[in-house]
Structure formats: C-alpha cells, structure tokens
Assembly symmetry: C2
Homo-oligomer: 554 residues x 2
C-alpha cells in the first residue's frame, strides 16, 4: 500500500533523531502531522468521511451493536471541534467573546436552536450545536480574559478532566473509585505539608467550590465546640458568633444563613486601607460580643481577598484566637497557590496555626473548574460531624479497609472526582512547575502596577505594591480630568468602568472585572491566573481601556 | 503524493453511496477507518510518531510558543487511551475491575507510582499514568456493573462533558457562561413541565448532587415559613420538625444536621412491607408533634427509594400536607426519570402537588456524573433565601438583563456547568429516546424478577413486582437450605452476600450491591440504569452468584 512508502520515508529520517535530539524530534513530528493532515483533508475532500453524521443518531453509538466505528468517528469529530476551539482560544487574533443578549440566544441564532424536542436529532446537528455552543460562549483561557480569579486552560488538566468523564465514577466509596480516593488522600497530605501541618495525619476533602469549603469549616468548628448540635440543632446552643473581615468573601454570610447561625451573627472586622484585617479590632469585637453574652467560636482570616488580594496578619490573628480559645480558619481559596512559591509564601506566615484552610486549586494553580479543598488540622472531626453510616452504602463488612470510604466525611452523598486532574497536573509540572507558573503571574501584576503608576490617565485604588495578582485602578477619562473631586465627580467616575466594560464585551476584545467597594466608586480589578497572558496583553488592556474611554461623555 | 491515490480510491467508491444508502455509507466509513489505522500503525511502527513523549513536558504544550503540534499529539494520545478504555468497558470479555487494596496502590504498582514530586515528569509518563488510572479503576459502564444507581456511559453525554471541560467556565453569571445559563433555564423549564407545573414560571437550579438538592429543599422551605432565619438564625425559630419515611435517603438527616435543625427533629414515618410511606402514620406523627409543641413544616416523599425502589403515595401525602399547611417535597433523585415514560409515569401521580422536587439526571437518565436538579414551584424563593448581592460579582449596572445571573440563587459561589451534557443528550435522543432507554431498563428489572421467582436458590426480599428497577433478593446457599429459619439462620444468611461480593470483586466478573435493612439480613440489591446491560448479563449475574456461593461454608 502506498502509505507504507510515506511511512518508510519517515522511518529513514527517524534515524537522524536517535540520541534524542530535540529539534530533529520536532522535525519528525511535523512530518507525521503533515501526513495526518493530508489524510484528513483527503477524507474531507470526499465530502463524506468522518464528518457526515447527518444520518447517524445517538442510538447508533456504543453500546449499540457495531457502534464502535461510529463512536470513534463521532468522538474524533468532537475532538477536532474542541481542539480547533483550543487553538483559537490561545490566538490573540480571535475575539474573547461574541456577545449576545439572553433574548437573542432564546430566540435562536442561525442554525442554533436551543429548544429541546421530543424526537432525536442527527449527530450532524449535535456536532453543529457543539460548535455553536463554543462560538457564542466566552473564551476563559484567552490571554486577554482577566474577568475572574479562575482563568486559563491547562492542557494536562483538561486531559485529566476528560479521563475523569470517561471513568464516570463517584468518590463516596473506595469500592468504585479506588485510584481516585488514594490520589485525593495523597493530595490532601501534600497540601497539609505545604500549609505546615506536615507532622499530623492529614484530613480534608475536595468540595464543589470554595464557598462550600468555607461552609465546611464553619460546620466543623461548630461541631467541635458543640457536638450536641448534630442531634438537637441550634436550639441547644447559646448565641454563637463568628468573625471575618469586611473585605472577606461573602461565603461566610452564605454559610451562616444556611447553617442556621444567621447573618447578623457574622461580625465584620475592620480592615486597613490595604484591605487587611485589623487585629486590634478583632480583639475588641470578640470582647464586646462576650460582654453581650454571645459566644464567639470562629474567626476566618483571608489569604488573598477577592478584590484587593490582601493577606490578613495571620500570626497576630492566631494569637488572638489562641487567647480566646477560638477556631481559626484561613480562607486561602485564592491565595493558597502562593504556598508553592518560595518567593511569595511568606505572605501566608502563620497559616500553620489555623485549624482549617480552604484552598482552591482551580484558581491560582490553573486547575480546570471545579477543584477546591478544605483541610483540617484535627483528624476525625469531618467524619464525626457528618457521618450517618447509611448501610446501603458503607457496609462495615466489606473486604477492604473501609476507612478509605470518604462518603461519610461529606455533606454530599455522590461526589464528583475533582482530585484526578490536579494529581495529573502535579505529576506533569512538579511542585516546581506550579511555582514557575505562579511567580510569572505575580510578575505580570507587578508589571501592571508599574505601568499604572507611570501613566496619568489611570489611578491606583490604593498605592501599595500588589501582594497577590490583584491590581485595582480607575481610568480617568479626559472629561473628568479637570473636575473638582467632589460628589458629582464620584458619581461620574462610578459610571466609567461599567460603560467601558459594556463596550469591551460588545467588541469582544478583552474582559476585565469592575466593582465598587464601600465609598469607592466602580473601579477595575485586574487579576492574573492565566499563564497565557503576557506583558503585551497588559499593554493591550490599558490601551483598549483608553481607546474605549477617551471619548466617553458621562 | 501517494496518499492522494488512496483518497481517490475512496472517492470512487463514494459515488456508490449517493442517495444515503446506509450500509454503503458504513462500508465507506470502514474504508476510511482502515486508512487511518494504517497511518497510525505506520507511525507507531517507527517507534516514534505521536506516541513518543519521553522528552516532552507539560511546559511544551499550549499556551507555549509552538506548542500547538505537541498539544494536538498529546491530546490525541489521551483520546486514544480513552477510546480504548471505552471499547473495553463495553466488552463483556473484559473484567469489571482489577481489584487492589489501598495499601497496594499506596505502595505503588509496576510503573504506577502515585506519589507527587517536585520536578516535572515527561508526558510519556503522564500518558502511562492515565492508562494505569483506568486500568486499576472500576468500569462503571460495563454491562455487568450493577453496583450503584448511576451506571453506564453515554457517548453524547461524554462529549458534552469534554466540551464543558474545554469551555472551563462558571455558572455564576451570564457574563461568562451565556449559552450554558440559557440551556440550564430551558432544562429547568422542561423538567417543570414534566413534573406538571407547566403553567408556572420555572425556578430551580442544578446542584452538585441529590443530597445537596434535598438540602436546598429543606433550606428553602424553612425560609418560606420563617424568613427571619436568614438574619437571626435558628435561635429565632420555634422547634421545627420535618418528616420523611424510614426508607428515605439519609440526605434529610445530613441536611438537618448541617442546617442546624438537628437530626432528632427529622421524624421517621413508617413504611409498609413494600417500602412505601404509610400516610396515616404521617398524619398521626404530625399531630403528635404539634401536641408536643413542635412546629411541623416539611414532608419529603420519595419517588424511588434507594434500596427498594418504592414510590410513596403522593396524592395522599399531598392531602395531608395541604391539611396541615406543610411544604411537600418529592425526592425523585432516582425515580424522576420515570416521568419520561408514558408507561411508568403514573407511579409519580401527585408529584405536581409538591412544592419542590429533586431529580438527578445522572441516575436513571444516564447523564455523566454530576447532574442533579432541584425544582421549585414558587419562583423567587431560591433567590430571596440565598442572595447576598456581592457587588464584586453581581454588578447591577451591567449591559444585559442581570436576572439571568444565577449565582445569588445558590449556596455556592462558583458552580460547575452540569447542564450542558444533559442538554446535548436531550437534543440527541429527544424525550422519546430517554423514554426508550428507561423502559428498557424497567424491562430488565421485570426479567430479573421473573427469573428469581422461577429459581429456588434465590428468594425475593418482598414478593411484589418491581416498581422501579430495584430488585432485592437473597441467595440461599445449599448449606443453608435445610436449616430452620431461626436467629442462627439469619446470622449465617447475613454473611452470604458480603462473602460473595468480596469474591466477585476479587475476580472482577460482576459488581452488585448488598446491604441489610432493619431486621432483614444482608441481601443483594440489583438496579438497572445502564443501557448496555442485556438479559444475558442478568443470567450471567445469577449464575455467577450461584457459582461463587454454592460451595460457601458459613
């Protein structure tokens, strides 16, 4: 067959690359890719090949008899669609998004009808729907997408998520997820070591996001002090109160509302101008609460606040918690990644004195969503607080060590496998690889900070160097430049970010977040967590804001 | 180039299949697949090709400069590993699992070391790790895997999950997940219609599993009657109690422990022999609780109990809830799928009178994990109960209709996209396709039931025909046959299922669950949700139990 000739040709050139010469290896691979492309193009040139699924239906796929070839063809087409999307995602010439309003999507766009029908549609349509879903979505890994704390798309993480989907199992028992359970345990142990609890037996769990991880910490702390709550509820407790800074994440309010503690029992501790909790205010508020007859039990300090990226003074907070006998939690959902950097981990000094830590690898470490861990210093509390020993699931007479069944540690029953992609990325990068990635994001933040200081059409929200990758700033359009900085100025400035953001989204060139904070009018919040973003993207962002904002009439 | 000749050859045969002749289409496709295989084998024959990643690292992949070809090659290798796994999964000649104990995995198996290191490992190792992860896992889509309510692997669902991973976004705002948000809304609406609330505006949310969906229902019901709880906590409430049957899922205890209600305030309502809630006992218990000064607020009825697959009498329960003014929830996590079957949906008659419904498409509908929805009849409660209006995320001055932002409806912040795979499957199958799939699983249960009745080495736990796909039974080994059915018999019978299950897992031939229930010793619980399972697999299971159990000395 003719293909053999092509193969032989490559086989000959193959001899060149013995000795693992890198660039020759690349040449060889290019040749093979060329070969593959030609085959593919040949097949597509037929107008048929893998790409004609207009007469093939889901019911033709595995496990249908003889479904194997259709299935491989269909999944390969999906693969091609996804890879083409990935390529565009990292291509600066492509738009970050192609914005449409809800009513437009609901009415249906050309060939993309979202309504569900009674009868099946051919796989050709399904493939088209996949293309359209991506087309009208947002490229969260685009180098100019800066909108959330989670961004980027790690290729090994993606592979991990694809495998997780194919394995399609559940974390509740070792029985059906043996490898994943062991991996989760090793990750929890590794994270324990990084927090600084290395000598203790690791305990913790992966949960569906940082807000639920924070909820776990409040739940477990409450149980530690008042185990009766499990049986009798909050009615059997005194009025308990918890403390967190005014800059902390809203998850503590959410948790307190859900857990029956009540939002008014979440006491907001003041922050300094930089967004860090003021320890003396914490101490005073604890004392005041006690004087009022309430019972303080829990303090959450933040490692990397959502807006300012501030790190609370953990050692001082730990001293106060120790003095009053309170549970100390550190919400390091955003800042936890810095534990992997020798240069930046000192910002978390004192975290080892916490009783629990939330850490979201899906943020700074770039793991695909969802991947959040909550870690506990004391082993066994999770299990004691949540176990109900349902015997349809956790049979004590299994043939293996059932202490590996994790289901009774959680407030869930079924639980998605979130650990594998992180495990695979850790293997592929090593701790060192995460460090490089994180340090490089931090350098981007520093670069932006210096840029902003050097330009007079931008103004920093606070003057200090960034501690995390958050950089907060205003754009001051020419029309506001000469005005006195009074109430009217504030009102006008408040509108600037929203207007510029709306135009950014319409044009799809870049995405960045904005918000007000207390008395401060809307400002932009830049964050870096995407390894794809370069300094040139930062330059682009500032120029783009200026382009969209310079003619703004407010 | 020689490849053109091959392509032309196919091009000629292509003319045969104009007119969309199905079998000729298959022939054509086979040819192309052959061609592809030859290319691949040619490349592999070189000892290099795509499969040599021993000198390539994660840092060489996108977004690295020139990373595109490495990335495509790496992801294609992953694809091949996954497709090979999928093929084996549906192959009855392959084992369901290759069992190892936790300590064996921890010590490391040949070439598979789970420990994490500081330095990166080459992608060749990462690919090997992917292979090993699957090798030592459990094939949850194997036709002879009957271990959990979630089983099978839908190819379109898998494609949906792969796309979701590539899109890597978050459900909290329309801004970054426009298409997925609209799809979720349409699915919630569709499920509303199927529940029978069609005329009302749909409300609900996808949550990370049925237990959290059930928790949502308790949370929202509590808020509906006592909105003050959000601010002041449970301290401001009377002693509230909820009701659920003794056969219901343990999630109501979990929820009550977490929400600060307390497990002792979950009142277990008696069931009949078939596992259905006894309405008169519910009514009596509500009255007794009131007499004790407690405040009933919530009843959960079950559509498809976990072990027996029983459906509670919803109409009678609804009447009682109405009489006492209580919130009625239906936990249809398992049984919800039957709403799609004209033949079986009458089992859920009365569900339209519920205030909330939990329904897990990742169970009976075969959607990949995780996919669970909680539905509410009254629109707006979810938002009112959970909203905190964090302005870093939910800016009111966005350019689109911000009522589409779903983040403030949830107890999470970030939320994984669970809706897309279900949407894609619904498009691909149509409602009708789900119906066929579900009816066929129900037929399997009926077949097993009849088989068991006809054999005298098996005994049914209850004599009635299955209402769902659950079939519960004992295997009676020859050594127990003649014995009097006393306490000792019970003790011995209790050990049978555990022993057989352990051997099944060691041999990896089949997997089925077992458990005791109240005074009943361990029995097997069969469930069907995998469309891959055929009647021959049921025959195999019974023969296998007999093979493993007939010599059993207890």
């Amino acid at each position: 067959m003719e293909l053999k000739t092509a193969a032989n040709e490559i086989c000959n050139s193959n001899q060149m690359c013995e000795g693992e010469n890198y660039s020759q290896n690349v040449l060889l691979r290019d040749k093979i890719i060329d070969l593959k492309t030609q085959i593919k193009e040949g097949a597509e040139g037929l107008g048929h090949g893998f790409s004609d699924f207009s007469n093939v239906f889901a019911s033709d796929l595995l496990p249908a008899r003889n479904g194997e070839q259709y299935t491989e063809g269909f999944l390969l087409e999906v693969f091609n669609i996804l890879f083409s999307y990935i390529r565009k995602t990292f291509d600066r010439k492509s738009k970050v998004l192609d914005f449409h309003h809800p009513h437009q999507l609901l009415e249906g766009l050309e060939g993309f009808n979202l309504e569900l029908s009674d009868q099946p549609e051919p796989l050709e349509q399904i493939l088209g729907d996949c293309r359209d879903t991506l087309k009208y979505g947002v490229k969260t890994a685009h180098p100019r997408y800066f909108n959330q704390l989670s961004s980027g798309l790690d290729m090994v993480g993606l592979a991990g998520e694809w495998l997780t989907a194919a394995a399609n199992t559940n974390m509740f028992t070792y029985e059906i997820a043996p490898v994943f359970i062991i991996m989760e345990g090793l990750l929890i142990k590794k994270m324990h070591e990084l927090v600084g609890w290395g000598e203790l037996e690791a305990d913790g769990i992966f949960s569906p996001g940082g807000t639920l991880s924070n909820l776990y910490s409040v739940l477990i702390a409450r149980y530690k002090f008042f185990p009766i709550v499990k049986l009798k509820g909050m009615a059997s407790l005194p009025r308990i109160v918890l403390f967190t800074s005014e800059h902390s994440h809203y998850s503590f309010q959410k948790a307190s509302a859900a857990l029956g503690i009540g939002i008014e029992n979440v006491i907001a501790v003041k922050c300094d101008e930089r967004g860090k909790m003021i320890p003396s205010d914490l101490d005073e508020k604890i004392i005041t609460q006690k004087e009022n007859g309430h019972v303080p039990f829990y303090v959450s300090a933040t490692a990397g606040t959502t807006v300012y990226g501030a790190f609370d003074p953990f050692v001082k907070i730990a001293d106060i918690c120790q003095k009053h006998g309170l549970w100390m939690h550190v919400d390091a959902a955003w800042g936890g990644g810095l534990l992997l950097s020798k240069k930046h981990r000192t910002k978390l000094s004192g975290i080892d004195r916490a009783n629990s830590v939330t850490w979201n690898p899906h943020k700074m470490m770039g793991v695909p969503l969802q991947c959040s861990a909550v870690l506990f210093r004391e082993k066994g509390l999770l299990q004691a607080c949540n176990e109900l020993s349902a015997n349809y699931l956790f049979q004590p007479d299994k043939q293996y060590d059932v202490s590996y069944d994790t289901g009774d540690k959680t407030i869930q029953c079924g639980r998605h496998v979130d650990a594998f992609k992180l495990w695979l990325m850790w293997k592929a990068k090593g701790t060192r690889g995460f460090e490089l990635q994180i340090d490089s994001c931090m350098e981007n933040a520093e670069y932006l900070y210096k840029k902003l200081k050097s330009r007079n059409d931008f103004e920093l929200v606070f003057p200090d160097e960034p501690e995390h990758t958050n950089v907060c700033f205003w754009y001051i359009p020419p029309s506001l430049k000469g005005m006195p900085r009074d109430k009217e100025w504030n009102t006008k400035l408040h509108k600037v970010a929203a207007k510029i953001k709306a135009q950014m989204m319409e044009e799809g060139t870049v995405m960045v977040s904005y918000q007000p904070l207390k008395d401060k009018p809307n400002f932009f919040r830049m964050v870096f967590s995407n390894p794809a973003s370069k300094k040139s993207d930062i330059d682009f962002l500032l120029d783009e804001i200026e382009r969209l904002g310079s003619d703004l009439e407010i």
